[in-house]
């Protein structure tokens, strides 16, 4: 995506954002609250219409895509705050994740894959999603996004509100999903963890990209350290 502007009403949320995600990479977008990370993902999904700029996916413009077209094009989006269907069972949630698809056999295969990736979901398959713990809900949100069999999986703050142990589990799973060929765009406040697994990273500050480098270089950068890694320079 290139030169993207987005507004909420008259308030500009993004100004001239350009990010690039290559196939099979993990790219992370870090930044403080309100920097525009979620807005960026929403713009890609088509949930927010950018006022200027271009978004291409696999060489084709998806700027004017509605969210359902984006999912069909192969972009899965695990939303901010998880947003699982609390009153539906884990199984029903996962089935809705495959809403855009028709091939029953393939869907069953992907369900098996998701349940293997997240064994906890297997145990709770018939349980209402609202009764799951926060970590389990996060797994469900990710699994649900995987059910659309995305080429690019966008994860919005998967570590939010989770215990350090669970965060480690979630990040291990992200790496695993990526190793099987799914490209990942990861939005995080937990910069340290995100940069550790990311090939490249972008730092977003009040709607602008301020740094762009490999994950390792960003980790080493004094400015990033001071702002996002607890100032351990």
């Amino acid at each position: 995506m290139h030169g993207l502007d987005a507004h909420y009403g008259r308030i500009q949320a993004l100004s001239g954002i350009s990010i690039r995600v290559e196939e099979s990479e993990i790219v992370t977008l870090i930044g403080a609250n309100g920097a525009g990370k979620t807005t960026t993902l929403r713009a890609i999904s088509g949930l927010v219409r950018p006022s200027r700029g271009e978004i291409t996916f696999g060489g084709r413009s998806i700027l004017r895509n509605s969210p359902d077209h984006t999912v069909r094009a192969g972009i899965g989006h695990s939303p901010e705050g998880r947003r699982v269907f609390a009153r539906m069972s884990v199984r029903e949630n996962l089935e809705l994740g495959a809403f855009t698809r028709d091939a029953k056999g393939e869907i069953a295969g992907d369900l098996a894959y998701v349940l293997k990736t997240f064994p906890r979901l297997q145990e709770r398959l018939e349980q209402k999603a609202g009764t799951l713990s926060g970590g389990e809900q996060q797994m469900l949100a990710m699994g649900r996004a995987l059910m659309s069999r995305p080429k690019l999986l966008m994860l919005d703050e998967p570590s939010l509100g989770l215990s350090p142990l669970l965060v480690a589990t979630i990040f291990a799973v992200i790496k695993e999903i990526n190793a099987r060929g799914t490209t990942i765009l990861l939005v995080e406040q937990n910069a340290r963890q995100a940069l550790q697994i990311a090939v490249r990273g972008y730092v977003l500050e009040v709607g602008k990209i301020t740094h762009e480098d490999s994950g390792a270089n960003l980790m080493a950068s004094p400015a990033v350290q001071a702002a996002y890694l607890g100032g351990a320079a």
Binding site: D68, G81, V84, K128, G134
Partner: protein, 345 residues
């Protein structure tokens, strides 16, 4: 007992439905009192309305307070296209489909501007629509006869046999329409569109993330819901042989919505039971209550307490059975779980 019925497996439920249908079809051969079928036919109109509103409110979770508008549109469609009013005489059977089609188009027209609205805001806009439509029919004197409405509508006929003044033919038509409506409602619920509606009802933004086109799904809910109402309006008008704007007031929308709440929003058998119960209260029990009161020399018009009785029944149900008489599995879970949180860490 009703709840056990609702939790029977699908095949058993179908057997129950078929058995019920056979009894209802045989009824006129046993009972020759036409006034009974007059009441049953009227009750059937409300069942049809409730089945339609259930699609909008129960399935898709879109609170529609102006549902009577589509009922009015269906009725006036028949009145204008099958009467001496413009000397157009479209056959009744064609009008059934035409009226539901016209109502569906208006369903889309109402749906389109409200797509961004939810909950309270949607309710207010639909409320407005429900007020505008009868008002429009009232004021378009030239076309609709204004406050007098349109009378001497065409009497339907079946292979050359006019329905005449008997209620039994209407009863059969309504029975058939309810059958079609049930079939449609069950299939819609279990369809891809039905799953999209449930997802939207649960969390619209999450539904969008799933790749559900919420715009088309919501418009479809309005259109399908309105089409039931249009059909109900068509038969209502033909049976009454006249239409007038005061048959479609806000109270009709509230009545149908109350039927859903009472019976169990989203649950098809529940909605039917709810509509029959409220119909009985409104059109049989309350008028009868006047007679009973008169017989003991107590001259009170109980019809004036209609809303009081509704209110009382609804409050009682909300207190003792918040999920309705026959709740859908999901609704029950929703209410029993209290406010299940999605956010905690």
């Amino acid at each position: 007992m009703l709840q056990r019925l609702a939790s029977l497996p699908r095949s058993r439920q179908i057997i129950v439905w078929i058995g019920l249908a056979l009894v209802l079809v045989a009824l006129p051969f046993i009972d020759h009192n036409d006034s009974h079928f007059n009441l049953l036919a009227d009750a059937g109109v409300y069942v049809l309305l409730a089945l339609g509103l259930n699609i909008v409110v129960g399935f898709a979770g879109l609170l529609d307070l102006g549902y009577a508008a589509f009922f009015a549109i269906g009725s006036y469609s028949y009145a204008m296209l099958a009467s001496p009013q413009f000397n157009i005489h479209v056959p009744f059977w064609v009008m059934l489909f035409l009226a539901s089609g016209i109502a569906a188009v208006f369903g889309l027209l109402l749906g389109a501007p409200t797509l961004r609205l939810r909950g309270d805001y949607l309710a207010i806009v639909t409320l407005g629509f429900g007020e505008i439509v009868p008002q429009t029919f009232l004021n378009l004197n030239k076309y609709t006869g204004g406050p007098n409405g349109i009378s001497s509508l065409d009497t339907p006929s079946f292979f050359g046999h006019p329905f005449g003044f008997a209620s039994v033919p209407y009863y059969y038509v309504i029975l058939a329409l309810i059958g079609v409506g049930l079939f449609a409602a069950y299939n819609l619920r279990d369809s891809r569109l039905g799953r999209a509606w449930m997802a939207i009802r649960e969390d619209e933004l999450a539904a969008k993330h799933m790749g559900i086109n919420t715009t088309t799904a919501k418009l479809a809910a309005f259109a399908f819901g309105a089409s039931f109402s249009g059909m109900a309006g068509c038969i209502f008008a033909s049976k009454l042989n006249l239409v007038s704007p005061d048959s479609f007031q806000f109270s009709v929308s509230v009545l149908v919505l109350a039927m859903l709440v009472l019976g169990g929003m989203g649950n098809i058998p529940g909605v039917i039971v709810g509509s029959l119960v409220l119909f009985t209260v409104n059109f049989i029990f309350l008028p009868q209550a006047n007679n009973i009161a008169a017989s003991i020399n107590l001259h009170v018009d109980f019809t004036n307490y209609r809303f009081f009785v509704y209110g009382f029944i609804l409050v009682a149900i909300m207190l003792f059975k918040p999920e309705g008489l026959i709740p859908s599995q999901q609704r029950r879970a929703e209410l029993r779980a209290g406010h299940a949180k999605t956010e905690p860490g």
